[in-house]
Amino acid sequence: MSDATTQRGGGLAVAAAVAAAVGARAGASIFAKTAALSAVGGGMLTALISPWYLAALACLFGQSVFWVLALRRLPLNVAYPFLALSIPINLTVAHVVFNEAIDGWHLLGGACIVAGVALCRPPRATTAPEQTREPST
């Protein structure tokens, strides 16, 4: 297998890991909102023992696996903006599932976010793990 093919395969794997992390992140917010709605009139405990909250935690676990896979290959400043794609996803679900009102500002903002994420796409050569220095905090 050529180096180019190997690199392309590695890039696809990283892209798949990022996409899966984004989907799981959006799912976690949606299930958390559902858990919150199920607890209206009850206490926080009602929300935290809800199956919807457990579903949100399951999504977060899925995100954790895929996100670590992505961060092994991509610098944080390159990878992190991609998670913003969960905003237009959540916007759509908020409108369709939860009947939350959306307007032109939401749509324009969502479009800007998608365009911003597109600008942040990683360079083709960024496929190798990078070393980072110790956090100073």
Binding site: A32, A84, N90, A94, G104, T132
Partner: protein, 112 residues
């Protein structure tokens, strides 16, 4: 400031801290498992768990779209923190993209 808004703000700060820990942990392991089980990774995900509790608390009052929009501030703060604390090089494209994302957040927040 209501407790729900304070919870939202705390969740934003903890999310940035968690991402820094995750990148730090992920870049250390020789294998995926060692990265995933790195103490920094574990602490990062512990902070995420706390963030979910804070978000559920906040969303008892706030709309999902409102929480999502404000939480998007992390998309600007995290690259800045990665450059300052992890020593990552931030390209012009990333600066431009993050700025556009931030503009999108502002525009998004103008909605009713």
């Amino acid at each position: 400031m209501s407790p729900e808004v304070a919870a939202l703000g705390a969740g934003i700060a903890l999310t940035v801290a968690a991402q820094l820990l995750l990148r730090s942990g992920a870049s250390r392991g020789a294998s995926f498992l060692s990265s995933f089980l790195n103490p920094r990774t574990a602490v990062g995900y512990g902070l995420f768990l706390l963030t979910t509790v804070l978000n559920v608390f906040a969303m008892r009052v706030l709309d999902l779209k409102t929480v999502t929009a404000w939480a998007a501030l992390t998309y600007v703060l995290t690259p800045m923190a990665a450059a300052a604390l992890l020593g990552e090089e931030v390209s012009r494209r990333t600066v431009a993209g993050s700025t556009l994302v931030a503009a999108g957040i502002v525009v998004f927040s103008l909605g009713s």
